[in-house]
């Protein structure tokens, strides 16, 4: 993998996790599957689960266990008000960055 890719991805994963949970709760594997479906992200469980654990530890997410038809109970994550505020903050910053980068890239093309 090119060396700059992990650097670019750094920090984006947290935003993506919060974004997945914007519309409701989901359990770890479900979050992973939704993120894996996004082309180019190439995110695996060793990246997502530690971030979920950290966000829960920082009170940005709450946890709820529910029975699963297969194996141990599923642990559903949900955004807290603090998590929602963090998501809005990060999304706004991401939009600013995207706009700035697009300007630069388009400027270079011209």
């Amino acid at each position: 993998m090119r060396t700059w890719v992990p650097q670019l991805r750094k920090g984006l994963v947290e935003l993506c996790v919060l974004g997945v949970l914007r519309h409701g709760e989901a359990y770890g594997y479900e979050i992973l599957q939704r993120m894996s479906a996004a082309e180019g992200l190439a995110i695996t469980e060793s990246t997502v689960y530690p971030i979920l654990a950290r966000l829960a530890d920082e009170k940005l997410l709450t946890l709820r266990a529910a029975p699963s038809p297969s194996g141990p109970p599923r642990r559903y994550y949900r955004l807290t008000p603090l998590g929602l505020a963090r998501l809005r903050e990060m999304a706004a910053y991401w939009n600013e960055i995207c706009t700035a980068v697009n300007h630069l890239v388009e400027g270079e093309k011209k």
């Binding site: 750094k10 594997y29 469980e45 530690p50 979920l52 654990a53 946890l63 297969s70 141990p72």
Partner: protein, 354 residues
Amino acid sequence: MTDEANHAGNEPRARIDAYLDAIDRVLTASGMSRAERRNVCDDVETQIQEMLARRAGDAPSVADVEAVLAKLDPPEAYAASRTESGESQPAASEVGPVLPARFSRTAIAGAVWAPLFFIAFTTIYVARRVAVEPGSQPPGPAWWQYVLMLTLLAAGLVAPFGTTVLGIISIAQIRQSAGRLYGMALAVFDALLFPLLALDVLIVKRWSSVLANGPASATGAAGGRTLLATCALVDAIVILLVWRAAARPAGGTVAGPKESAADQEKRALLAKIALALCLGGILLAGLVAGTARALGHDPEQAVYVLFLACQIAAFVACQIAAFVLGVMSWRDPLGKAGAVIAAIVAVAALLLVA
């Protein structure tokens, strides 16, 4: 269900547990808190179970588990992902947990330190007679004696504190190591050796004063045996309590390596042997009583005396072995029963003899 079926049924679970333990060790090395590690391992386990359910239904085989685990990130990836997601990079020395577990060096240091006390204690009481001519000064210690006094003697005199502290530290380290360190038995030995010796000295002093004021028959060999039994019982109880507390993992369900099916079988076997030895010892005690009664009728027969001595020796060996094996398999109800019954029978026998 047969033992083979049990073993086969546990094997897929053991593979999953080993994978989760490896992740836990990597996350521990990266400095993640216990609660976060538990969250991560629970999420990974849910994913594994769901993938297995899709692949093999309710009864996955070892091959199914291996196939699913092969699709997942290796445990080492969790260290890299912590860095990628903005967490602190573990030092190279901290990534060690993915290596095989090792014996606690702190526990070894404590065990090495302990004998120095006995050496120092002995040298203090060993006096060497030196001939001194009238009018001359007695010769002082040689240079090497000064060196020994400043090193060996000093280290020996503080050994009770040092060994105990190292034992306590190593117990804590082993419990927190999530399987990276082992040697709990030696650590407990370090922590308890000198405190138990001190306790025994206190018991001896207390009992000596009680026996001295008691009837004449209470002193002598009988009193000594009773004292010995009391010390052994108190020590055994303290060791058992400390061992049980120390052997409990500090990190919840995923903090330590899970017991494999082979270990469980071994423990069950030890427990059965312990109980069998204990019951065999009780039968021997009956034989001892019968032989002693027969001797009462004809005490001159030397063959009976030899027979009695062998029976007593076998009885003592059975009870000691049952107690040791019972403690080793304490988590098994049979092992627990074997250890407790052996201790009670041994103490009761000693008291009866006394």
